[in-house]
Subunit: 502 residues, 3 copies
Amino acid sequence: MKCKNVLLSLSVLAGLSLVGCAQDVNSANVANNGAVTKDERPNIIVILTDDHGYADVGFNNSPDLKTPNLDQLAYGGTIFTSAYVAHPFCGPSRAALMTGRYPHEYGAQFNLPRKGSNQGLPKEETFISKVLQNAGYYTGAIGKWHLGEHADHHPNVRGFDEFYGFLAGGHYYFPEKYEPEYERLVKRGKHNVNMYYWPLEYNGQEVREPEYLTDGLSREASTFVEKASKKDKPFFLYLAYNAPHTPLEAKEEDMALFPNITDKNRKIYAGMVYAVDRGVGKLVDTLKRTGEYDNTLIVFLSDNGGKTIKGANNYPLRRGKGSAYEGGIRVPMMFHWPKEIKGGNTFHHPVSALDFYPMFAALGNAKIPEGKDLDGYNVWPKIQAGKPTHDTKMIYAMRHQKGFSETSGRLGDYKVVRTSKEGPWQLFNVQTDPGEHNDLAAQKPWLLREMVSQIEIWSWDHQQPKWFHIWDAGGEWHEQNMPRFHETFKVGQADPVLQAQP
Amino acid sequence: MKCKNVLLSLSVLAGLSLVGCAQDVNSANVANNGAVTKDERPNIIVILTDDHGYADVGFNNSPDLKTPNLDQLAYGGTIFTSAYVAHPFCGPSRAALMTGRYPHEYGAQFNLPRKGSNQGLPKEETFISKVLQNAGYYTGAIGKWHLGEHADHHPNVRGFDEFYGFLAGGHYYFPEKYEPEYERLVKRGKHNVNMYYWPLEYNGQEVREPEYLTDGLSREASTFVEKASKKDKPFFLYLAYNAPHTPLEAKEEDMALFPNITDKNRKIYAGMVYAVDRGVGKLVDTLKRTGEYDNTLIVFLSDNGGKTIKGANNYPLRRGKGSAYEGGIRVPMMFHWPKEIKGGNTFHHPVSALDFYPMFAALGNAKIPEGKDLDGYNVWPKIQAGKPTHDTKMIYAMRHQKGFSETSGRLGDYKVVRTSKEGPWQLFNVQTDPGEHNDLAAQKPWLLREMVSQIEIWSWDHQQPKWFHIWDAGGEWHEQNMPRFHETFKVGQADPVLQAQP
Amino acid sequence: MKCKNVLLSLSVLAGLSLVGCAQDVNSANVANNGAVTKDERPNIIVILTDDHGYADVGFNNSPDLKTPNLDQLAYGGTIFTSAYVAHPFCGPSRAALMTGRYPHEYGAQFNLPRKGSNQGLPKEETFISKVLQNAGYYTGAIGKWHLGEHADHHPNVRGFDEFYGFLAGGHYYFPEKYEPEYERLVKRGKHNVNMYYWPLEYNGQEVREPEYLTDGLSREASTFVEKASKKDKPFFLYLAYNAPHTPLEAKEEDMALFPNITDKNRKIYAGMVYAVDRGVGKLVDTLKRTGEYDNTLIVFLSDNGGKTIKGANNYPLRRGKGSAYEGGIRVPMMFHWPKEIKGGNTFHHPVSALDFYPMFAALGNAKIPEGKDLDGYNVWPKIQAGKPTHDTKMIYAMRHQKGFSETSGRLGDYKVVRTSKEGPWQLFNVQTDPGEHNDLAAQKPWLLREMVSQIEIWSWDHQQPKWFHIWDAGGEWHEQNMPRFHETFKVGQADPVLQAQP
């Protein structure tokens, strides 16, 4: 963990006591070496939804959607109001979750090229799944992969005993529609059939999925738990629904539950989320039936903000998917674990998806590979104690686009953000002002400057992108001499000492 | 081998039966594990000429050149009318032959910098010579190397027990001329004497070559075979003539055999090719004398198309060296192997120099290193059976120049090609129209689009060039924001699904 | 060692006998395997000053400064009038010293980003400290590091048993001033406190330095020698004073010794250098007291030229820090070693800081890692014999700035240099004309061309910079399509053979 540059806590700024980074790390070690013993290690399930808006779960007070099963878990667990992902779109966000590091640090800032490249995350980046597998966990990935299509990057070689799903960044939902279309295109001689149409696979073998995709993935999740429950070891399940990501396709019966929604996209989206929730209900049933319910930590979150033009609602957050404003990176999240979490809690301090890697490793008593850098830290003791998090270790976001790097950083309650080349850096108290309406930059210029400077430090470790989702993005990157950080981090006058000639 | 993206064969497009990539691979495995047993492993000789035009061998009906020894081998073996190299100029073409991969995939798209850099092909790319050496072959390289001048890249450390020749990309031919010039320059204090003048070497030791260079290399080839025949193992000989590459220098007696040729360059060129042919004759004599003739596979080909302004003739192909049109990449080629090839065959389906690696490994029962990517496949079973090749696995070519990437791809009988920034993608049936006269793009736009898209997929794995032959080329590359693939692969309207935002 | 391109010595040009590169290497081997046996291995101390001008030591005839202790060592040892560092500013110069290679060859052409990046020299580059440590030396680094702030790059993991000092590129000098300022900034909540204010450290543990920094470092040097003298092994001490680098801060008592200096900067600078000299005196006392004096090789030099606007004097050299003219790269240097050096010698032939690595390894009978490239060679036998050095192996310098690469190369007595985009290449005899006044380019165009061509060869092995000291420099690099070597190495008409198409 990289702590050395953070010399004091933001709580000092607010007049509170000093909580240094070293302390955060120590707490993690305690959890790692202390309470949790091998026999009691919990199962861990990550349920990841795709482009799912902040407001689009019942437990975040959705006015129109229904997610009764998720809500029941949330109310019986801990709801996080300030949960962040490491990137405002899919691939890099998932990369961060698996590696515990910002994707910018190993060139994975963009989605993988579609249509079958050999690219994938560097093998030096050991996945959390591998860490848990090495520690004796039975591991499964179900659903969307999007972390490399080549055999070298397959879930089965990156720490998952089991994989059921698809390698691409998305998929059509109705087999009765995508199967014949796939056959038609293949017969027509199309060589690069859109991967959204491809057959699903189980551990590398093509399979026929008979159900509506979300239902199919839920079924497989239950199957995995059944299988896992018979083993003499805990399990780790990564259940990555592609819903409610486009294409917008829901079952009629699910949409029928929302007669009051008139917007067409919203109605489909509502049905898609409902299907996810139904699957979660079934998964919970299976956990109870197999006796695994009590000692299973369920982590539910979305991979990034919702796409509002595709039916999502990120209220009260500003903007959505793709943005460094809260709507792009703050996501609905809850933890559920009967044995350890009493329920009825809401945790307002920031938590990052980057914190899962060290946290899961600690809970699973698993060894993090020697020399592995991590950008998050084990927040579990702080969550348990209801204490402030990330008041010394910032949470960053950065998305490159059109010759500019949209960037933000949150420390404690404050966040600096810059979303356009022309616009200035802004400062918000996103704890009290999650909609990012009241720019405090003029009031606290020194804080703004400090925080931007902290982000710049982070940027020093970025690598050039190893790939771009489309060649146009790569062309643009080079033509614009990206990342143009010398412009990105300009805040008024430069620090004369730092800018001095060597 | 990367096959996963190729879902069906082009033969489907032409109404024939489906032959999938998996099948190609299986055939290779059969050959590898099946018929060939250790005791019967063949010797393998690759005779590579340099800038030798498609029409400039007797067996391709040269109207004016004479290659009686090559012709005799060709008529007693198999002539390939659609043999391709992986690049239209020297260094990258040779890199592909040795590594079994397109040079673009490991940054070797340009010739090595001249004048003694430390650069060379990445060590991760195990050469076919190493694979055969590891499998017990006695291995030799004779002639031009051009794959790295530093000790780390020397033939002796890349799988060759023996090396006689020169490390540079070319050489003068007459010792009585280049030796005194070399001495003169050294005496004058010149530090960077053109490597074309340098003394030859044998396994790292400087030697005095007494003969006309081509004759010298032929002599050494025979010497190698003599030596090899006394060993209890098969041999692999890579005989890389620099003839008829410039400087144009032939023996008077050889030129005298072409009294009807009046063009000065052509006359010298004819003499140079004749000298190669004489050497091949001597090599065949040696093979017969040592009893190795019957079980030696001789593969003859040129490293790229001929340079017409330097005497070459690529008829009936369009353009020559450096071009993605057929004249740059389709080369004269024949196989000869008395024990396994009956003779009198002509093989019209496409074969790539990239196919040698897996084919030689299969024939030599040699183990390809774990995880080694290969771009070709073992075409031997198909050649033996006279069956279509590369109807599912495309053969690519790409040459970067002046801010543009000249590019082509062949699949079955068809080829798409684009040779200028302004010009469009063209489609030819190069089986019936090797001169690329009749552009079928307007007639088969879907086929063109599919094939270009397939090339684009390939391009995703390209790396930035690790070197340039001259700094100007490097400057140009960066100034033009190369490779500019977003422009290269534009074909009318983009596919809306593929171009969608992440 | 890369020698193969250098075919003959410059002495040939001057009509002297031929001394080839192979000979240089052999001499090194002789020293390595021959005379020096294990029991007699010398201690080695490198005293490195920072931005210390060529004329700013008594032994180089400073008219106003006083360095009595350095002078005494110099007069009792060997003074070098043509000592070069590998780069005209700090970080890359130090990188070269530690790795024995030009920083350009592994992307370290710029100073490390300030403010705490994770960057540092590649681990593949084994430091000379590690080589000596592995050979049984007790090793210590004291003072400025500037080679990586992350734990992975800490002196203690790069071959130093002991480290006392600071990781940044500079530091304030008076604890009574920097300590309270540090406390104030931390209290104010500043996250990125300028590292010039940070507490010092001892082997990773923060410490309070009570003295004026230069005195503190001198004290620790003596402590190290005391400790080392009790061990049953030789020692290697790297004593890297940050003086007289800015900030300009000297003790009143030291400045008081220079009543005739009226320029304010020069007066402080004089005091700073005097403090260094006082420390050297104490170190010598300790060496004598501990009985180590006789068999200790002391190497004293500056890391680059002095900054004249900050008080330095590089007379008679042209320009100063940052320049490829002599003032940037030729530094004050002397060796002292009672047991082996008689004293009273001045060595006029060029020596490079890159020569230390192989020389120290030879003197310490230490094994250079297999495959390690080195740009210098062991000049010790030549120094002992008073023979010409670097008459076959050039000494290069290159500094990238504002879209141009300021570049020079010295071979024997001659030097080519180009310091601006508009200006031409110049040629000087820097032995007779150290001020670089008389451009000989028009008189010896062939020599100029040869030498520039030699530099171009070197440039082929350069890598893109891995970092920039500030983002502006990185932005500039990319916007200017650096390194633009195709322009840098243009000398009149290009060599038609070398420029020919592939």
